[in-house]
Amino acid sequence: MSKGVLEVHGVQKTFGAVTAAKDISVSVPQGSIYSLIGSNGAGKTTFVNMVTGYIKPDAGTINFGGRNIAGLPPRQITRLGIHRSFQIAQLCNELSVEENMLVAGSIHGKSRPSFLRRSDDPQARERAMATLEQFNIAEHRHRLIPELSGGVKKLLDIAMAMAGETQIMLLDEPTSGVAADEKFPIMDLVINALRDEGVTVIFVEHDMDIVNRYSERVLAFYDGQIIADDTPDLVLSDTEVQRYVTGAPA
């Protein structure tokens, strides 16, 4: 197997008496789309949190771009190119949709955020608009966050995370809190946008239809361990996965 863009080796994490990650090892190739499945508490979000710096692993290494990023703070990991969205969209409620995008653009601009350059200069707004249009949410640009539907919030959360040079995008339950009829359109938009940019995608998901349709490879978690790592067909038909994760025959 060729060396992955993200190499996780022997990662462990315990919270008191609970072991959230037991000797997790995985290699994610450049440009691939992985999904993480498992019941609540299986260790999926812990894995995402460790890769993105929210949680420091007790042991093991997480190699990205030739360096061990385990334990680095989130902002440093983000600057390296590993971005994430959240299960509950993390947005700035007092700002408009456009301003949220401008914040992301300011931080991810070519130069450091300026104390003098206006945040809403025409070029910055143009860039923000381009991203909003890419995610089909430009029509909401003047609205405040509490006025938006769950789907639009999710898209904005992902659009903000995509600002800058994204190499790996981790999506934590991108369709949770989204109306059933919005799930596939949202995933189509997101996956197409990320695929166009050549971004490696790792997403946590409970909906097996979405897992089956969008992922190239599936990691099934149970009790802090990876119990299956293969193509969607093989993983979803695995008896252990059916017993501990999906709860249904293939």
Binding site: T52, P73, P74, R75, T78, R79, H83, R84, F86, Q90, L91, C92, N93, E94, L95, E99, N100, L102, V103, A104, S106, I107, H108, G109, P113, S114, F115, L116, R117, R118, S119, D120, A124, M160, A161, A163, G164
Partner: protein, 313 residues
């Protein structure tokens, strides 16, 4: 609608305030000069409020600036107001650079109480230092202006115009900052620190920048107040002084720069006239006034002119 640049507003602001030098009587010019000097300190608090924290200890820099100017005048013979302001600003900048990074990891009541504790340490220390006046404080002589040493009304006018110039320059720079990329990131931090960190910015750095700007403005405000009063004492760092600055910042809200100075002037006016007509209950009048503003304008006076709505915290 035509949109004026910040410099146009600054020029209009300067013209309006400078006209006070012609039309205001001596007592009012002094009152305005003090209000504007305190407004500078409050502008620093407003900068921090935009990031979601409130300093209850800006008296630290107000006092430090005042004492630096007074000590430089009394022991080094410096009388030029520009030099005194620069010296105070430099000292407060240095102290801000020390405490800013330390306080930047605290939020809410912890940030407020730690900043208050620092100002009270200065208050306590100065009160015990009898060689610089102890609780009685020190006097400072009239300043000179690039070698010119006015007296009487010309001195008061020159000092007033100097304060106005400093206020307009500081206000303009802070407005530019608030409208900048860093300014917007500060507002985002107030709303959602997690998102800002995951976009790749350091929330601690943002907090530290705002604290240092607050220190700088506090020191300049303190210098002007000391020179205008001709006296400085440890009360400059006492918690009630810091509380007064927070009062003005809440009254103004974090949305508009001019509203900070309007709020500072209103506070001085309400205090002066309440003190005159209701000497024993003026604090009650102030409290009722603040209550009315919080209920009627939760985003502060600034929400009257800003398209953005905000809460007063």
């Amino acid at each position: 609608m035509m949109r004026f640049s910040v410099f146009t507003y600054a020029a209009i602001g300067f013209a309006v305030l400078a006209a006070g030098a012609i039309v205001l009587p001596d007592w009012a010019m002094f009152l305005f000069a003090m209000a504007l000097a305190k407004g500078l300190v409050c502008l620093g608090i407003v900068g921090m409020m935009r990031g979601g924290v409130v300093s209850f200890g800006q008296g630290l820099y107000y006092c430090l600036g005042a004492y630096t100017a007074t000590l430089a005048a009394n022991f080094l013979g410096v009388s030029d107001i520009f030099l005194l302001t620069l010296l105070s600003a430099a000292v407060c900048l240095l102290v801000g650079l020390v405490f800013g990074p330390l306080l930047s990891s605290y939020r809410g009541i912890f940030f407020a109480m730690l900043s208050l504790a620092l100002s009270m340490v200065l208050y306590g220390s100065l009160s015990k230092m009898s060689f610089i006046g102890g609780t009685d404080g020190l006097n400072i002589g009239a300043p000179t202006f690039l070698g010119w040493a006015p007296e009487g009304r010309p001195l008061q006018t020159a000092l007033y115009l100097y304060v106005v110039a400093i206020v307009v320059i500081s206000g303009t720079l802070m407005r530019i900052y608030f409208d900048s990329e860093q300014g917007l990131i500060t507002l985002a931090t107030r709303d959602n620190e997690l998102r800002v960190e995951y976009l790749g910015a350091s929330v601690r750095n943002i907090m530290a920048y705002n604290y240092v700007f607050g220190a700088l403005l506090g020191g300049i405000g303190g210098t002007i107040a000391a020179v205008a009063l001709g006296h400085v004492d440890p009360e400059f760092a006492f918690w009630t002084t810091s509380g007064e600055f927070v009062f003005v910042a809440i009254l103004a809200g974090y949305l508009s720069v001019p509203s900070v100075f309007v709020a500072a002037i209103i506070l001085e006016m309400v205090r002066s006239f309440s003190n005159l007509y209701f000497p024993n209950t003026w604090q009650l009048a102030l409290g009722i006034f603040l209550l009315i503003v919080i209920v009627a304008l939760p985003g502060g006076l600034g929400s009257l002119v800003s398209r953005r709505k905000g809460d007063p915290t």
